[in-house]
């Protein structure tokens, strides 16, 4: 049996991912999470002295907190199976990745387990976020110094 023709058979028989349905679910889930984030930021603006801009930081932290509660009680993975990227792309998904790894590796202790493995899944986001930010900022700074663009 050659691999190529077998892959064709697999493609024919294997159930297709319901892309459209998944996208609708992702839209709904992600939309709700962002709408909640917006409401949370209004709360920070209304009751505390945060402006539209500065409210985003405590809102993000609050969303991560909510993510911790949902992850801890085993609810976030159900949301994840339903929402797909809708629950992975918002910062709550980042929180879920960190927190689930932390809970999972508790059994190996707090240093070698939780500490070492916490960013097992979310690490690349930070690594490539920082690296791309560095590259982008460097290029822009060079262009500004050369006088091609301004800040």
């Amino acid at each position: 049996m050659d691999a190529e023709s077998y892959q064709k058979t697999v493609d024919q028989i294997a159930p297709k991912r319901p892309v459209l349905l998944n996208c609708m679910k992702a839209f709904l889930t992600g939309g709700i999470i962002c709408a909640i984030g917006q409401l949370v930021s209004f709360v920070f603006m209304y009751f505390f002295s945060f402006t539209e801009r500065t409210a985003s930081n405590p809102s993000v932290a609050t969303m991560v907190f909510l993510s911790m509660v949902l992850t801890g009680f085993g609810i976030y993975k159900k949301i994840g199976q339903f929402g797909g990227a809708g629950s992975a792309v918002p910062v709550t998904g980042f929180g879920n990745a960190v927190i689930s790894a932390a809970i999972e590796h508790k059994s190996e202790g707090f240093i070698l387990g939780v500490g070492v493995n916490m960013f097992k899944l979310a690490g690349p986001v930070i690594v490539y976020g920082v690296f791309s930010a560095f590259v982008v900022a460097l290029i822009k700074t060079i262009l500004v110094k050369m006088g091609v663009i301004s800040w």
Binding site: Y46, S49, T51
Partner: protein, 135 residues
């Protein structure tokens, strides 16, 4: 509430571009109507605003504008152009223009309460400090 819902539905239909009701609220300690009118004209000249609030106090002018949803991409540009216009209209005032919702809320609170001079001084200081904070 109903009016808000009505406005929203209009926006969602995409026809709300210019028909949105434009509200200006002001508080002038010395109640100088002419100054208020000059300022209101600056706001009315800009088609992108949905709400504006301003407080005059002792040659200070703190302004906040709310930009219509569809113009929010250009929010910073709009704020800057308003700032420029207000500054040229009130050259003898210390002008501060913000486009932040929180500042609008705070200014409206001041306008509603019409506080005494001392309190107003404190309030405005607080508002300005808030607005200066960056992300």
């Amino acid at each position: 509430m109903m009016k808000k819902l009505w406005i929203i539905s209009l926006i969602l239909l995409g026809v709300a571009g210019c028909s949105e009701e434009f509200k200006v609220s002001t508080y002038h300690v010395d109640d100088d109507q002419q100054e208020i009118e000059t300022l209101t004209k600056v706001f009315k000249d800009n088609q992108n605003l949905s709400e504006a609030a301003a407080v005059f106090f002792d040659h200070q002018l703190v302004v906040s504008v709310q930009v219509q949803q569809m113009s929010k991409f250009k929010k910073e540009k709009i704020r800057k152009s308003i700032e420029k216009k207000v500054k040229s209209a009130f050259p003898d005032h210390d002008v501060y223009v913000s486009s932040d919702l929180k500042i609008t809320w705070e200014l409206k609170k001041i306008i509603d309460e019409q506080p005494t001079t001392d309190e107003l001084k404190k309030d405005l200081k607080k508002v300005k400090a808030l607005a200066k904070e960056e992300t």
